[in-house]
């Protein structure tokens, strides 16, 4: 089966700086693919290249059987986009936003109006149909943006940080809807820097940094390939001093961040026995997760 989206060796530079540097991605129908990376890793630029909004400096892109950017217009007929920043039309009501957006795809008014009730139902916004956009909460705006991206019944959805800035209730509702979409057979490409989001939603994901994909696979594979199975977090004022003296005896790898020592290991029992005899230290023993992988691969320093 041919790929829904295929990118080979994508390149893009701004002012001599390589923002996207040799990205290869191939998406199969019905899968949810996550692009993870710190701010400035090149995620949004990669999405804009895939949509044909900017010209790549090199590489090859095929979206839904159309060469991009040359035939991006045809490809975008079957694409939905949830952008990072809300850009709903503030002058219009919820339903008018969907109507006006559907027209951009060349849809007839009666065709769009026939879809609106189901879209509003999906977005849990049926009761807000005639409400103007500025009075909606952040979560409602995101849901409306998602409904708007579905107005043309797309084959593939691009979501750029779909839950950034939302409260937990709103995030969970969006996750549920995105999961429903994959069940319906839609292909999803999302960027995020929330690891729980990626772990929960994505069949496959890639970690991106400095314009390159540095690791790719299912969430479990990524954890297994890149990091030890267990983590013991040691807290307390003497944690750093303790870690430098003792952690290496027990852990395959450790990192100190402020008053916390992160110990990565495959068998935590000897370390826990040792820690129980230490006063002034508390600890948390947990399985390794995607966030550990992410921090290992992209480092702990701030990206600003």
């Amino acid at each position: 089966m041919s790929a829904v989206l295929s990118a080979q060796n994508l390149q893009k530079s701004y002012a001599g700086q390589k923002v996207v540097n040799g990205v290869n991605i191939s998406l199969n129908k019905g899968e949810c693919f996550g692009l993870l990376g710190p701010n400035g890793a090149g995620k949004t630029t990669t999405l804009r290249l895939m949509l044909g909004l900017i010209e790549p400096d090199g590489g090859y892109l095929d979206l839904l059987g159309h060469a991009v950017p040359r035939h991006a217009r045809e490809a975008r007929l079957r694409v939905g986009v949830v952008p990072q920043a809300d850009n709903l039309d503030p002058d219009f009501t919820v339903a008018e936003n969907l109507l006006v957006y559907g027209r951009y795809f060349g849809m007839k008014d009666n065709e769009i109006n026939a879809r609106i009730p189901a879209l509003l139902e999906f977005a849990s916004l049926a009761h807000k149909k005639d409400v103007k956009v500025p009075t909606l909460s952040g979560g409602m705006k995101r849901r409306l943006t998602l409904a708007r991206a579905l107005v043309n019944d797309p084959d593939i959805l691009f979501l750029d940080e779909p839950t950034t800035g939302l409260d937990p209730q709103a995030r969970h509702l969006i996750w549920q809807r995105l999961h429903d979409l994959t069940v319906q057979g839609k292909t999803l490409l999302l960027t995020t820097h929330f690891m729980d989001e990626a772990e929960r939603l994505c069949h496959r994901l890639a970690i991106m940094d400095n314009g390159q994909l540095i690791s790719e696979g299912s969430p479990r594979e990524l954890i297994k390939r890149n990091i030890e199975a267990e983590v013991v977090e040691v807290y307390g004022e003497p944690a750093a001093q303790w870690a430098n003296a003792h952690a290496a005896q027990y852990a395959a790898r450790f990192e100190v961040s402020g008053e916390t020592a992160f110990c990565y290991l495959n068998d935590a029992q000897p370390l826990i026995t040792h820690l129980q005899s230490q006063s002034g230290l508390r600890y948390l023993h947990r399985p390794a997760n995607l966030e550990d992988v992410f921090l290992k691969l992209t480092g702990r320093e701030m990206r600003e």
Binding site: D89, D91, Y104, F105, G106
Partner: protein
């Protein structure tokens, strides 16, 4: 900066849903908008036309208020297109990010810029027609030739919308537009024969006036109001069309550069 920024516009009928969007927004605020577009030029026309006009002799073979009516229609159409292409287009591009939302659909930037020009020209058409209607009711037009001011309002609108969008493409913020209004729009109002014939200007400034699009708009409008076909009609139309096409192309190149980030 790459070569595709300089490509000729690739146009399609997909501009039309955007024009419809603008019209839908306008309908919601039409009452205040119409008042603004008619009230301001009418105050000038009546105040200066009857007030100042009563002190003046005939001008160009007609009463001052008829002379002024043609100028008023031209500058009010220039103003409405300019305001729309600067402030409103900037809001849609920069503040509301409406353009970003639209570009994620099969609509391209070329379609968007075309629709912005056509919408601003539509606003000109509306305000030009409204002022013409009032002038006709006041008995200031003298033949059916004055109906040609309706398509002329559209052409003036296209011209100033295209020129205005160049500023929009360059603007870092709204404050920037003050330069354009102070250094371009207001001087044109005074140099281009709106309030007095350009023959009153020193020779140098007469030459400058000949290079400005508003002069050519007024040169078409005034004879039509008085009741005869303008001399050099084709030249004046060609100048307005030339500014329109250049403005469209230059603004499109600048928008491509600005938004290719």
């Amino acid at each position: 900066m790459s070569a595709h920024h300089y490509a000729l516009p690739r146009l399609s009928f997909r501009f039309f849903p955007i024009w419809r969007r603008h019209f839908m927004v306008w309908r919601k605020i039409a009452a205040t908008s119409v008042l603004g577009h008619i009230a301001d030029p009418m105050i000038y026309l009546l105040g200066l036309g009857y007030g100042l006009g009563s002190l003046l002799p005939e001008m160009g073979g007609t009463s001052y208020i008829v002379f002024l009516a043609a100028g008023t229609i031209c500058y009010s159409t220039m103003n409405s297109a300019s305001f729309e292409a600067l402030y409103s287009s900037f809001a849609r591009m920069h503040e509301q990010r409406t353009w970003d939302a639209i570009m994620n659909t099969p609509v391209t930037l070329d379609d968007i810029v075309l629709s912005e020009i056509l919408w601003a020209a539509t606003k000109s058409l509306m305000s030009g027609t409204a002022v013409l209607a009032v002038a006709t009711l006041l008995g200031l037009t003298h033949s059916f030739l004055s109906l040609w001011l309706i398509p002329l309002a559209l052409l003036i609108g296209l011209c100033f919308a295209s020129l205005g969008l160049i500023m929009t493409a360059l603007a870092p913020a709204y404050d920037f537009f003050m330069y354009y209004f102070t250094l371009a729009v207001t001087p044109m109002m005074l140099l281009c024969g709106v309030f007095f014939p350009i023959t009153q200007l020193p020779p140098f400034w007469q030459g400058v006036a000949q290079a400005l699009p508003l002069t050519h708009a007024v040169n078409i409008a005034r004879p039509l109001i008085i009741g005869y076909v303008p001399d050099g009609l084709m030249l004046h139309v060609a100048v307005l069309l030339g500014f329109t096409l250049c403005g469209f192309y230059v603004s499109l190149v600048l928008f491509r550069r600005r938004l290719a980030k």
